[in-house]
């Protein structure tokens, strides 16, 4: 039998399209279901009140604040270290055993399960450095977790700056550092920001790394210092979904919706920055 190439092509396209749709469908369903079930719970009181009646009523304000603190702390720690490391790898290191070990370490770091980060944070920050279960410990743990994301994306952003810019700058008598500072880094910032925000979205949503390092089961007041424990959205969601009986489904899905919106919002910001960068790409 002779095969019809047009038919074969159509079938192939159809299969490829189906495979692609398979990715879109779950995302759409997750969003739809959570919005449908969670939206009724969302109101001003839910967002600004403390949890009441053993977390069966009231709001989730402390968890929102806790997540904000953790994400903020993680960025303060991870952004400078990540960018500096990326500058070293992209601009200074030569291709040798050391740089290959570092790159391998970064790849492996991004593959470590998040619960392992949690145990690591417990051992290092909570116990060894005696920070206790605190915002500091949690933020540092999350920071280490998103470090590979920031390093990798920053390195890509730095390496996408054309070499001709570096060459001209050096040929005008600029030092290597002046070149990085004045030419390379400014052109890489949109890419660095995109990667950082994606990393933060990840940090905001993770439960395991904060499980042992910071998360409070129930803490109706706001944290006062970085050595306090705090509630956080993902852990709160875990708690009211599995640990507390008779929690209204509305509250659970409402919490999930807030967390989801937070992460989607961050990703959206990253996408906007990236598309702006593409539009302004001038080389």
């Amino acid at each position: 039998m002779k095969r019809n190439p047009h038919l074969t092509q159509k079938i192939a396209f159809f299969l490829l399209l189906m495979a692609t749709l398979l990715i879109v469908v779950p995302v759409g369903l997750i969003v739809v279901i959570i919005i449908q079930k969670g939206l009724p719970a969302i109101n001003w009181q839910f967002l600004t009140d403390i949890p009441r009646q053993g977390m069966r009523a009231g709001g989730i304000f402390p968890a929102i604040v806790g997540t904000a603190y953790l994400v903020g702390g993680a960025i303060v720690f991870a952004l400078p270290i990540g960018v500096l490391a990326a500058i070293y790898l992209s601009e200074y290191s030569k291709e040798n055993v050391l740089s290959r070990i570092i790159k391998l370490a970064i790849i492996n770091l991004s593959g470590v399960p998040s619960v392992v980060y949690g145990l690591f944070g417990l051992a290092l920050f909570v116990v060894f450095f005696k920070f206790g279960a605190s915002i500091l410990s949690g933020a540092l743990t999350l920071g280490i977790m998103i470090l590979p994301i920031i390093i990798t994306s920053s390195r890509e952003a730095l390496e996408s700056v054309p070499d001709s810019f570096r060459e001209v700058s050096l040929s005008l008598g600029a030092s290597k550092w002046q070149t990085i500072r004045n030419i390379v880094l400014p052109n890489a910032i949109p890419g660095i920001l995109t990667g950082t925000i994606l990393g933060l979205g990840r940090a905001a949503g993770e439960t395991a790394p904060i499980l042992f390092t910071v998360a409070a089961f129930y803490l109706p007041q706001l944290p006062e210092s970085i050595f306090d424990q705090a509630m956080a959205l993902p852990y709160h969601l875990y708690v009211i979904s599995t640990q507390v009986p008779n929690v209204d489904e509305k509250i659970r899905y409402g919490t999930a919706l807030v967390l989801l919106l937070l992460v989607l919002f961050m990703n959206l910001v990253a996408i906007i920055i990236r598309s702006k960068l593409r539009k302004n790409k001038k080389w």
Binding site: V168, L172, G173
Partner: protein, 251 residues
């Protein structure tokens, strides 16, 4: 007077010898052209003169390059001072993705740090005037240099370099991306600039070399085959290979 002299200059990329004992002397306030077929080492020779070859890994040099009598090869050379004195215009016009103003201000900013606004304005104006761009661009100094035409970009790059106040302009096929009219105008500009600067231009256009240069060097396979007055090279070449090249037998 010779501004730059190379003595027995040899250069290797790894095991490949790209320059074989080059002895040349580049006169001040003159245009020296280096011609030769692709891969003959002419760009390499140009890039040794302000040590841009250092950026390539595995480069090794022997011999001497004297700029104003000082050898610039070796570890002791101050690259920042050298590159301020011996600047480079590249093949592809490569302004920074900054405003026109900031492109020209770049050199001053990195070399003197904080500069008063009116001083900087003057530097930018002088730079643009020296490449005959001022009248065209004086009303859009804040717009991006990336929006300019190729010719304007290349002029801007020359202005950016001149603002650093170099003595020597190294030009690596500066017209190869330009159309014939733009090329002619850049050549006119080089003629203007020759009064104040030592210009060394690499070109694969023999006509260009014949039109604008005072001295010409012909390179082949890393060797400086012949070096002398442009007139002599093009009318009475001494070496058979030079003759073959300029009469179009290869290249």
């Amino acid at each position: 007077m010779a501004k730059i002299v190379t003595q027995d200059l040899k250069l290797w990329y790894g095991n490949f010898q790209a320059l074989k004992s080059v002895n040349a002397s580049f006169e001040a306030q003159m245009i020296t052209a280096i011609i030769g077929p692709s891969g003959c080492g002419k760009s390499t020779l140009l890039r040794v003169l302000n040590r841009m070859n250092d950026l390539t890994e595995g480069v090794r040099t022997e011999g001497q390059v004297l700029v104003d009598g000082n050898n610039i090869l070796g570890d002791g050379a101050d690259l920042v001072t050298l590159r301020k004195k011996v600047g480079m215009v590249f093949q592809r016009p490569n302004p920074f993705p900054l405003s026109i103003y900031e492109n020209i201000a770049f050199g001053e900013r990195i070399h003197t740090g904080r500069v008063k606004r009116d001083v900087m304005d003057e530097i930018v104006e002088r730079g643009l005037k020296s490449v005959l761009l001022w009248d065209e661009l004086k009303d859009k100094l804040k717009s991006s240099a990336m929006s300019l035409s190729l010719e304007q970009k290349q002029r801007l790059c020359i202005a950016r370099l001149i603002a650093v106040k170099p003595d020597v302009l190294l030009m690596d096929e500066p017209c190869s991306t330009l159309d014939p009219q733009a090329t002619a105008r850049i050549e006119e500009l080089m003629y203007e600039l020759k009064r104040d600067y030592t210009i060394i231009i690499v070109t694969h256009s023999m006509q260009q070399a014949a039109r604008i240069s005072d001295d010409t060097g012909f390179m082949l396979l890393g060797e400086l085959v012949e070096f002398g007055k442009t007139k002599d090279i093009f009318t009475a070449p001494k070496d058979k290979r030079t003759e073959d090249y300029i009469t179009g037998r290869y290249g």
